[in-house]
Symmetry: C2
Subunit: 712 residues, 2 copies
């Protein structure tokens, strides 16, 4: 059933020039104010009378043209209401309601006779607004010097932030007061394959904050297309964040042709952190699905030849003999294999067997193609061709074998940041995937971008990332892009964009480890824009067991790893550890095999950024539910009700939890598995260890099956 | 018959460490010397004992690595001789002899244990040398800060130069002493669509010079691939030219992966200017043809819908209504045509009729595709898609009509410098050409390059230009690239590169005019690297007759325009003027119809840069000859012998010459046509007006046909 209501009221400028526009969310709790004061457009936002955003300036600084910052007067304002429910191709819920009140303000700059529209959409859980540049004589082509959108904070809030950067998002989060960002910046800044910062008070979105009077505020953007990514720079004296766009090679921040619009700038706010996680505002601010036939877009649970390279147990490269490779010239058959190349036919077949036996949809293989000997840090343009396998990787044979086992192979395209080279080979590469029945590609953009001087998050690269997704759709290919720009809800428009990394993922657990509470923050930040290919499911936390030369430790308990399949929503879920490690804990592994990938409903039971997240999700088209709890640095007892279950049904709940003595550091593999009889009246009080958590599968059951089980 | 001799002698370093290597050309006239003095590699060059290049340093400055400038010692030297004759797919002569003595010096830099090879090839008419970076442990990937190749002049020579520039070559030549370059630089610098200079003593190659003691010296480069273009910067105090490479967006001048080599640096020298024109050294320094099947590569004589737009009579754009175009969104059928759009079906058919009637192979049409309303100067990325015609251009109908008339259509791809966009559409565009039987494309790169910050002649763009030619070959497409990097003999390796502009072409005669002696310099400079699509054949010199708002004057006589078809060698020759202008002078037009495009032999009869060039060429596979004389600023009488003709044959020579009162400025259309009986004993004394010249067609004839004709 779809509701669809639109009501619009045109209020003429004359009436409004003087007074500010006041405007409320559908439920009336959220109120914004817009005014043009001293010819400068400004807005503010309050929740139930409590200020969320103090009066903040809006506008853009242009290059070689008069700025769009001041000298404005209101020409007209339009108010309207929108209420519509749509069905995502995949997602956390079966349907999504898109309900907002809209205020569109058209301003004129008499000195230049240029028009600028600012469109506000007020949802119950937040505000989205964007700049629109209508078709007009005096503003056609222009270059953005800087966007000057302000977000004025009401105080020295607590923030969960990572350093603002033009090329990397892969940082651990720092929890601090806003006033502490500058002093903590250098500590928060860790090495990465490609990175460039712009200010010691620069931070990235999605930025999660908490106020002293209990408000949760989230700043991000939606529908980033044909524009540069926005960072935020803090003016500490006034506690004002201002937009800071990513420049191109010559320092410009965006080339615009009107008619055009900026991405949406989003402010989510609530006194309940769970509302931030449950919000669909970011998705709703994106355009509807553009892909007509979506029958080929399917969630994927997969394993892969990957973790053994990440840990250093194996290598992507085929040989250690070559100082440099020239594709098409280097003859690998004449080189000495290093004996550590994991992507070989025999080994891949073992993975295929394991996937088939345990019901995984796909097998990812990295390091299958020529070029890994000198792929990184050489500013090498022609680094990969994406279709030439190493001598020990038999594409045809592997394809046939996987097909015979009902398993799909998953392609890997590492670009090494050489975007031109990737685009030159893209058609051939996608055709190759079609030929050998690869439904999805994991693409990578490790290292500095070529063309040199461009950044990962500049308009140039952002244009490419979307180009790759659109082209993939032409070939019915799903894309999971790593090191690409962080998502901003584009998956609604392009549902074949089934995953992104764009944050500090599990590999960092093998590179020295991540903070134990990292996963209690990601859903409040990185995941606001879209799903993450976090690659959970690590059972062996002592990496030296895989590679004696690697003393890294995975800062997580095994139960926590299981919970991630529910808390880190993604239609693409990897079981990242080695098959042999899963075989050591078959009972715990069962949860990874059981857990669903796609959902009819999601119910956020508990949430506090940095501390804990507990969510229950109902599998798509079924009655089974799965619950995940991830816990932060300190032990905590989670108390949940099962009232999300149907009243008239009985279920068997299998609880995978930390053992009493579990701890992410010294005892991560200590877990317990208990079965209970549960229904909608049941309650659970469950302790989670530091860096721990629990996972529950709740399967509908006949009374007969539940006999003898303890009742919760 | 092919000769092939190789003799090699390895002389061990021990013997040579101390003394300089002296080394001669096959005829012994040219001698070079190489030595490592104070650990710095140096060379010099003399002709018959007369110094041409004083001792000059060699080497490269590297980024973040120790330079390759000094600290060298000679490891070994190799001498060899090469003599081989090859057959070009098309060219000025039937066969080309490649005969040189080679000296390869391998040097070691003990402090870094890096090897550098400098390879010298000494031809009778000049020296070519290049840097080679062999595969080695300590020099694999490196970035060039600057190449430091010196060309030390022996005095204050007279030079024919244009300002050194990263983005434009379209300048009039300035004749001056080397010492005068700085003061004349700003005058020599005229506006262009995209340009950036680096020094007031920076000049471009090919640089033609003349010494006071009568030597002609030419500096250029050969086989420019995967490297940045070289300009020359003059140190006036010491009269030393030094290489100055084109930087990328972040200022780097080249990214090299060993094994690799630089382009050849070339020095041609002779006491007879004709030897410079006749030399094949530049071609010989390029690699042999890489295209197996060349049956589809054919010279083309064409007309086109072009000059009427250049003069402003017509427009490329379809409408004047649109401030901005969005391809795929803009609906041209809803816009008002400007009534000046020349590329419309009906008009194009008139051109096809004219081509068919007068025996032209092809018709070029510019402005046929959507996007011309805002194509220039907007830094617009998605500016053309190369396959969508304007509503009034019926591709299918035009294709069928041309086919029925035995005429080929010639494609036009203006990229507006948006290289990424062009590469994204290239396959589709070439397929489109194959579908509609377009054998050749004229591509254009007007305006600043996108990716922004890159230059027309940087390594990035140079990689693209060759990529476009190689990809075109896959589709059996011939390329004529305008605003691309100037040629360096690559046509030997890729004979489908049948033309380039890369210099100030005829269009500038409609933009204010070029110097009358421009065409007496181009063959000594721009044409050294390859043929130019100069688009000659302008009969109406008063541009206001085509467009009342354009008062430009073509600084050339009509006879001079005819001579260009012989003096400006190219397998691609346009008759650029409007059909109606040819119909006013059908007798003169006959020469353009008669003149050949491809040659078995070329005989340079007279040559002095800036003053005059007279050349006789024998048509491929026939006995007819064609002679062209272009004359400079002052009237001159050209005296030529016809001894290039076969002794036993009789010919009819039709001489198209300036009338007695002709002058490029006030009386450009005054010409005479006389027929003579000639044989190998004949001689001609013919006056050419300022900016004038003459053209002769010499057709073998039976005695009976020559009766009554005056004998020369």
């Amino acid at each position: 059933m779809k509701k669809f209501i639109i009501s619009a009221a045109l209020v003429l400028s004359a009436i409004n020039l003087s007074l500010a526009q006041n405007f409320s969310s559908p439920d009336g709790d959220l109120e914004m104010s817009f005014e043009v004061k001293d010819s400068v457009p400004m807005y503010s936002l309050s929740l139930n009378g409590k200020k969320v955003i103090e009066t903040s300036k809006l506008g853009l600084e242009l290059k070689e043209q008069e700025d769009l910052l001041s000298g404005f007067e209101i020409l007209e304002t339009k108010e309207s209401t929108y209420d519509n429910t749509w069905t995502p191709v995949w997602g956390e819920t079966k349907e999504i309601r898109n309900h907002y009140n809209e205020l569109a303000v058209t301003m004129n700059q008499p000195s230049t006779d240029r028009k600028l529209v600012i469109r506000f959409r007020l949802f119950d859980e937040g505000l989205g607004f964007r700049y629109e540049f209508p078709e007009q004589a005096n503003l056609v082509y222009f270059v953005i010097e800087e966007e000057r959108t302000q977000f004025a904070m009401t105080g020295d809030h607590t923030a969960f932030w990572i350093p603002g950067d033009y090329d990397s998002q892969e940082y651990d989060y720092t929890e601090s007061k806003l006033s502490e960002i500058r002093e903590m910046f250098d500590v928060a800044l860790t090495d990465n394959a490609s990175q460039e910062q712009f200010s010691k008070t620069g931070v990235q979105t999605s930025l999660m904050m908490k106020t002293e009077d209990g408000l949760y505020i989230n700043l991000h953007e939606a529908a980033l297309k044909e524009y540069s990514l926005m960072n935020l720079n803090l003016d500490e004296e006034n506690m004002i964040f201002e937009s800071w766009l990513t420049p191109d090679a010559i320092g410009n921040k965006g080339y615009i042709q009107a008619p055009a619009e900026s991405p949406w700038r989003t402010i989510m706010v609530s006194d309940d952190a769970r509302d931030i996680l449950a919000s669909n505002m970011n998705l709703n601010l994106n355009e509807p699905n553009k892909i007509d036939d979506t029958s080929w877009i399917k969630p994927i649970k997969y394993i892969g030849v990957w973790w053994e390279m990440i840990t250093g147990k194996s290598s992507w490269a085929y040989t250690d003999e070559l100082p440099a490779v020239k594709l098409g010239e280097t003859d690998y058959t004449k080189t000495k294999p290093n004996g550590k190349h994991a992507a070989n036919t025999e080994h891949v077949k073992e993975y295929i067997d394991f996937a088939a036996e345990h019901g995984f949809d796909g097998v990812l293989v990295e390091g299958w193609n020529e070029g890994w000997e000198d792929w990184f840090g050489k500013s090498k343009d022609y680094v990969f061709n994406f279709v030439t396998p190493y001598p020990d990787f038999d594409v045809e044979e592997i394809h046939k074998y996987a097909q015979s086992k009902g398993v799909k192979m998953i392609m890997h395209h590492e670009t090494s940041g050489a975007i031109r080279n990737y685009e030159r080979h893209m058609d051939t590469a996608y055709k190759f995937m079609n030929k050998y029945d690869y439904p999805a590609v994991k693409s990578g953009y490790v290292g500095d971008i070529i063309p040199r001087g461009e950044h990962h998050y500049g308009q140039w690269a952002i244009n490419h990332f979307l180009y790759a997704v659109e082209k993939a759709a032409d070939y019915k290919v799903m894309v999971n892009a790593h090191e690409a720009v962080r998502p901003t809800g584009l998956r609604r428009t392009y549902p074949n964009l089934i995953g992104n990394e764009s944050a500090r993922g599990t590999e960092f657990q093998a590179f020295g480890g991540s903070k134990p509470n990292h996963v209690t923050i990601l859903p409040f930040t990185r995941l606001i824009g879209g799903p993450m290919d976090y690659t959970p499911g690590i059972f062996e936390m002592d990496i030296s067991k895989l590679n004696p030369d690697n003393n890294s430790h995975v800062n997580s308990t095994l139960a926590n790893q299981l919970a991630l399949y529910v808390t880190m929503y993604s239609p693409l879920q990897m079981a990242a550890d080695l098959p042999e490690n899963y075989m050591k804990f078959p009972d715990a592994f069962q949860f990874i095999k059981d857990v669903a990938l796609d959902w009819d409903d999601s119910d956020y039971l508990e949430a506090e950024p940095g501390d804990y997240i507990t969510v229950a999700r109902k599998e798509k088209g079924g009655n089974n539910w799965f619950v995940g709890n991830v816990n932060g640095n300190d032990a905590r007892t989670s108390k949940i009700k099962f009232d999300f279950l149907d009243n008239d049904k009985e279920y068997i709940a299998t609880v995978y939890s930390d053992a009493a003595d579990a701890h992410y550091k010294d005892n991560p593999q200590a877990y317990e598995i208990k079965k209970y009889r549960v229904n909608s009246k049941s309650q659970l009080s469950q302790r989670s260890a530091p860096g721990g958590g629990y996972a529950i599968s709740i399967m509908e059951a006949e009374r007969s099956e539940t006999r003898g089980l303890e009742k919760l």
